[in-house]
């Protein structure tokens, strides 16, 4: 029996943000990843991109401005050195491999790195994809940030996605509230676990086979 505590959203945001190297161009998906903006490590220049044509986003300014919003339609500011572009150029950045890392939320990720994050499969839901599919195929690295299981304790990491796909074989790395897992050509490899969590327990909460790094790290703030 494992005695562990899942990471809070705040802790997870801190951990993911801390793994972003100096000088990268990053796009944060809507939902949980948006929180990373408040946790960027000091001393590194991490350039945030927003699909509506902002490169070099900063925190919300004092004066509300409709023309300075992020993809979640929340207020942002421009850092010194920021650039504005139109949608053609912005999606050229996203689709053409110019964004180094995108961090996205997910409903499901498969063992092959398939991503489902745009459609819950609810019959009466209005389909709305936004820029998720462009980012999934186009960013150089796709990191997923999510809870390890659903609220009903169903695994979100699965052999095959049952929800509609956003992209096939696109995810490179998963940060859950329990573990950091890389998607590799040889399957899912666990690199780090929260304190007190044993591999068997993590496997029991995951519906795809896991391999464990020989030098497992501790996933903690």
């Amino acid at each position: 029996m494992s005695h562990h505590k899942p990471l809070s959203r705040e802790q997870l945001a801190q951990i993911v943000a801390n793994d972003l190297p100096d000088g990268v161009y990053v796009n944060l998906g809507i939902g949980m990843p948006t929180q990373l903006a408040g946790h960027l490590p000091k001393g590194r220049e991490i350039i945030l991109h927003s699909e509506n044509g902002i490169l070099g986003m900063g925190p919300a300014g004092d004066v509300p401005d409709l023309d300075l919003i992020n993809a979640s339609k929340e207020q942002v500011s421009l850092l010194p050195g920021a650039a504005i572009c139109d949608h053609v150029v912005s999606f050229t950045m996203m689709r053409g491999g110019h964004i180094d890392i995108t961090v996205l939320g997910a409903y499901q990720v498969s063992a092959d790195g398939d991503l489902a994050n745009w459609d819950t499969g609810t019959p009466d839901a209005i389909p709305a994809v936004g820029g998720a599919m462009d980012l999934a195929v186009g960013a150089r690295q796709v990191w997923v940030m999510m809870e390890h299981t659903t609220r009903k304790r169903e695994p979100k990491i699965v052999e095959r996605c049952t929800l509609p796909l956003t992209g096939a074989s696109v995810v490179d790395r998963i940060y859950s509230d329990l573990a950091r897992i890389d998607v590799t050509p040889h399957g899912l490899v666990v690199r780090a676990l929260v304190p007190g969590l044993d591999p068997d327990t993590l496997q029991s909460l995951t519906a795809a086979p896991l391999r464990f790094d020989e030098r497992l790290a501790v996933l903690a703030v």
Binding site: L66, L68, S72, V88, R95, M133, D134
Partner: protein
């Protein structure tokens, strides 16, 4: 003399026929040509196909056209209210669930690139976006050098409604911050582009290297003012 300024919103939209395809700029509430949409409501055109990133932005503008039954089809990337606390697309949800409007959901960057293809005189193009997903259903696909692609069709507009910051009488435009978003590509992709601006400025006052949309892509310009109060078109 080349003068694209028109004196009123009503005049700017008066010739839009029933059945037109209308490209509407804006991302969320940023860069939405609300006053032109309201003028179109008064004008009465129906059976419209509207291309916009969202399914409306609160009660004024597109939402009014949906509720008045003027829109036959919406081509859109995100037709849902992003934040349940701010049901910006509530009117669309109502008419969509009642089966009164058709929805074509398109990945945002593909919507953009389809318009760019139309604007640039290109035909259909292959894109990896949506390959293997349900948004590729019914579209031709091909595997090229081991990667899957979906064939996407150009998306031209009969008309475009765009919001810009400044225009001169030749139709050269600047945009304010991220209010630019879909404006430049929509100006280029429509046969008749109608632009509402905060201010019409004298010809020559926009430095040429700072023109964001060259006037060749613009047919009509109408001054609205920043607070949405109609102001008289004027200047040189």
């Amino acid at each position: 003399m080349l003068d694209k300024t028109v004196a009123s919103l009503a005049e700017a939209v008066k010739d839009i026929p029933d059945g037109a395809t209308l490209l509407v700029g804006g991302f969320g509430a940023s860069g939405i040509p609300t006053e032109l949409l309201v003028a179109l409501l008064d004008q009465g055109a129906r059976d419209l196909t509207v291309v916009n990133n969202n399914g409306g932005n609160g009660p004024v503008g597109l939402s009014q056209l949906f509720l008045a039954g003027r829109v036959r089809k919406l081509i859109c990337s995100f037709a849902r209210s992003a934040n349940p606390a701010q049901p910006s697309a509530a009117a669309f949800a109502e008419v969509y669930r009642a089966g009164k409007v058709e929805l074509e959901c398109v990945p945002q960057g593909i919507m953009v690139e389809r318009m760019r293809a139309a604007a640039a005189g290109l035909g259909p193009f292959f894109s990896p976006v949506s390959y293997g997903s349900k948004l590729a259903h019914g579209k031709e696909t091909r595997i090229i050098d081991g990667r899957g692609y979906v064939l996407e069709q150009p998306l031209p507009g009969d008309y475009a409604f765009v919001k810009a910051q400044h225009a001169d009488r030749w139709g050269n435009l600047t945009y304010r911050y991220a209010g630019r978003n879909f404006g430049p590509v929509m100006c280029m992709a429509a046969r008749t582009t109608i632009v509402q601006v905060d201010r019409i400025v004298p010809l020559g006052s926009i430095p040429p290297e700072q023109v964001m949309t060259p006037g060749i892509f613009v047919k009509r310009v109408v001054q609205v003012g920043r607070d949405g109060e109609p102001a008289r078109a004027g200047a040189a």
